[in-house]
């Protein structure tokens, strides 16, 4: 099993600790992980902005970088979704098809491929889980409240088994945080308001550590928390599962 680690561009540049935690976690779980140095980005920022055609070179570079691997694991539901869903505009060579099939979000990889249901970590904190929309509704990693009242999903399943953890019951379990790529600046007012409302929900219900599967949502929410000096610590799910403490 040849496994490659894909660290999305903004994680590489701004959240190296999330990349490190992902790598260490996979190593602890007994996975031999390669990290191709020429990787950059999945191309989503341009595509979501209406410049999909400009992204083709980035898509091809991504496929070229990762085609030799059986699995591509990344700590981002959003990038995973983009590669699976939107790499349909380049020629569907065997390499492209393979890459689209092989890419896994980290938690999905742990649960579906490695078939690991429990990670032995103590995390005695009250944790609020922010479901990223691309992970939840894009990859169907969690139930959507539009469809069922049962709140369950891949990430919460793993989290619930950590020792000492308490999960926050939110008023709105799966409302978008308002990051949305370039939406966060193009629609600054609504984006900020959406984030502030998410934070208020977490504060109201006692979250001490805010986590999720997508750093992009967390970056936006952390930016608001810091501006408000609010007492919530932000950690990516990889950091928690790797045994890091807040």
């Amino acid at each position: 099993m040849k496994v490659a680690l894909f660290i999305p561009c903004y994680i590489d540049q701004f959240y190296p600790n999330v990349g490190i935690a992902t790598l260490q976690l996979l190593e602890k779980l007994g996975v031999e992980v390669a990290f191709p140095m020429k990787q950059t980005c999945c191309g989503q920022p341009m595509a979501n902005s209406g410049c999909e055609q400009d992204s083709k070179g980035v898509y091809e570079h991504f496929v070229d970088t990762f085609a030799e691997f059986d699995y591509i694991v990344t700590p981002s539901g959003s990038c995973t979704y983009h590669i699976k869903k939107h790499y349909d505009i380049i020629e569907q060579t065997p390499a492209v098809q393979k890459v689209r099939k092989s890419v896994y979000e980290l938690v999905d990889f742990i649960e579906i491929v490695l078939k690991i249901e429990e990670i032995p970590v103590d995390f005695p904190h009250k944790v609020g889980l922010h479901l990223s929309c691309h992970g939840q509704r894009g990859l169907r990693q969690a139930n959507a409240s539009e469809i069922t009242g049962v709140r369950d999903g891949q990430i919460s399943k793993l989290l619930r088994k950590l020792k000492g953890i308490e999960l926050t019951e939110l008023d709105r379990n799966d409302e978008c945080c308002g990051f949305g790529g370039t939406f966060c600046v193009a629609e600054e007012a609504v984006s900020a308001r959406m984030g502030q409302d998410r934070i208020a929900d977490h504060l109201r219900n006692g979250t001490k550590v805010l986590t999720g599967g997508d750093v992009s949502c967390l970056m936006h929410l952390e930016g608001i928390l810091k501006r408000q000096n609010a007492p919530i610590k932000v950690m990516h799910i990889a950091e928690i599962l790797n045994g890091n403490q807040p």
């Binding site: 209406g50 410049c51 629609e187 900020a192 970056m219 501006r227």
Partner: protein, 461 residues
């Protein structure tokens, strides 16, 4: 007023933070009511699939079903008219009124129940210019008609207004006591006022929720019974319908009536589900079938299934952007996510900001009772906006530059290092300058680390 883009209008809306909270919570309440209505129904997801498939079939055979509908309606004694666009629709309605509702010494009086199509065609303004008195009889529509505002929601047209606002409007137009805000008193004032209008009407216009090819009849759903009061009292009934309202058979109807009110307001069914088949003795019934851009949308493979929409408004209630920007921020007859995929078909340039008024969270697609892939279509419209050169120049060139950088690893590595270095040494006041960096208005930037992950990896593995 000049057209303003969504970010501008949404930012204006958000200036009143308290009102934004109220608007968000009001619509979220409706979304939750909808949830409570659908969770106990085990077959709800199957119903959505079935409704979607019936519409797929109908749209694929729309020409045949429209003809079948017309033939059956004519057999029933209904007069059928075809309008290619809004102007034709309005002229047809005016001609019907002039031919069938001749009155002396006063204006002809029309009562109208809620019809998004006539909003789309701007019928009221046209008729009023031609000396027809038009009264909207849906309570929400009447409120905004008094205020000379467009609807902000397709099911709850005055949802942007608080009871205090309605009290103010009724004080001005109906003479209720100044400061009166009791909903029951205000509604009673509207009832008395509207009764007079119903009794005095010469012609009643309704929309159409569903048109049934097999029977040539059509169905109008209301909660207030205002459509029924109007058409049963007036001599002439005109029903305006878009071509996409068609369903093949009567037994398909229940699939949609089970979905419509639950999705819209969380009711099991609308209070009134009225079937109209033929005119009563001595009366006239007309149907105006309107295209107005719909066949063009039908011809767009990626967007045709937006025509499945049954106008329940659930995508608005669920949309976190709509709830925090208000219906008027879309500046289009149909606001919210569905409006954002319908409007570019009408005028791509004018509505080029609407496909971007979304985080692509996908809640709209999951809530839609006919399973329109709304967020997928938003993404696809974005690409067309980009290709047709309708993106702001900074975004267009910024994205081209970014794409270049991200396809060249060395340039990306060096660029990232320089950017992080700059962020670390530049003063906070500059990196968080709000006129240059919209991110920083409400948010801090992430700390720029010394090492990227790649740099760490090279050192440590």
């Amino acid at each position: 007023m000049n057209h303003q883009d969504h970010p501008t209008l949404a930012a204006n809306f958000n200036k009143d933070a308290e009102r934004t909270t109220w608007h968000d919570e009001t619509l979220w309440f409706v979304r939750q009511k909808r949830d409570r209505a659908i969770y106990p129904i085990p077959e709800f997801q199957d119903l959505r699939t079935l409704a979607s498939e019936i519409k797929d079939h109908t749209l694929s055979n729309l020409d045949n079903y429209l003809i079948e509908f017309e033939q059956n309606a004519i057999k029933n004694g209904v007069k059928v008219h075809w309008a290619a666009d809004a102007a034709e629709h309005n002229q047809i309605v005016l001609d019907i009124i002039r031919n069938s509702c001749k009155v002396e010494g006063r204006n002809t009086r029309m009562v109208k129940s809620k019809s998004m199509l006539t909003e789309e065609c701007h019928l009221n303004a046209f008729l009023q210019k031609n000396n027809i008195d038009v009264v909207d009889t849906d309570l929400g529509e009447r409120i905004i008609q008094f205020r000379d505002e467009p609807p902000s929601h397709i099911v709850m047209p005055a949802i942007h207004l608080k009871k205090e606002d309605v009290g103010e409007t009724f004080h001005e137009h109906l003479g209720t006591t100044k400061g009166e805000k009791d909903p029951q008193i205000l509604t009673e004032a509207a009832r008395q006022h509207l009764r007079e209008k119903f009794v005095a009407a010469d012609v009643a216009l309704t929309g159409v929720n569903f048109a049934i090819a097999e029977t040539g009849s059509f169905v109008v759903c209301t909660n207030e019974g205002n459509a029924d009061l109007g058409v049963n009292l007036a001599k002439v009934h005109i029903a305006s319908m878009g071509i996409e309202k068609m369903i093949p058979k009567l037994h398909h109807l229940s699939v949609y009536t089970r979905l419509l009110a639950r999705s819209a307001t969380g009711q099991p069914i609308t209070t009134y589900t009225s079937h109209f088949t033929k005119p009563a003795e001595g009366k006239e019934m007309h149907i105006v079938i309107v295209d107005n851009g719909r066949t063009q949308q039908l011809g767009r493979a990626d967007f045709r299934n937006s025509l499945k929409c049954i106008r329940c408004g659930a995508c608005m209630n669920t949309c976190p952007v709509y709830r925090r920007s208000g219906g008027h921020s879309y500046d289009f007859t149909v606001p919210g996510p569905i409006g954002a995929i319908l409007s570019p078909n009408i005028d791509l340039h004018k509505y080029s900001s609407l496909p971007f008024a979304s985080t692509l969270c996908g809640s709209c697609s999951d809530v839609c009772p006919v399973k329109i892939d709304i967020h997928v279509q938003l993404y696809k419209w974005r690409q067309i906006v980009g290709q047709q050169n309708e993106l702001p120049a900074t975004k267009k060139w910024g994205m081209k530059g970014l794409a270049k950088v991200l396809s060249m690893p060395k340039v990306y590595n060096i660029g990232g290092k320089l950017a992080r270095g700059a962020l670390r040494v530049l003063p906070h006041g500059l990196t968080h300058n709000q006129s240059m960096n919209p991110w920083a208005k409400a948010r801090e930037l992430p700390d720029a680390p010394k090492q990227s992950f790649k740099e760490w990896y090279e050192e440590n593995r």
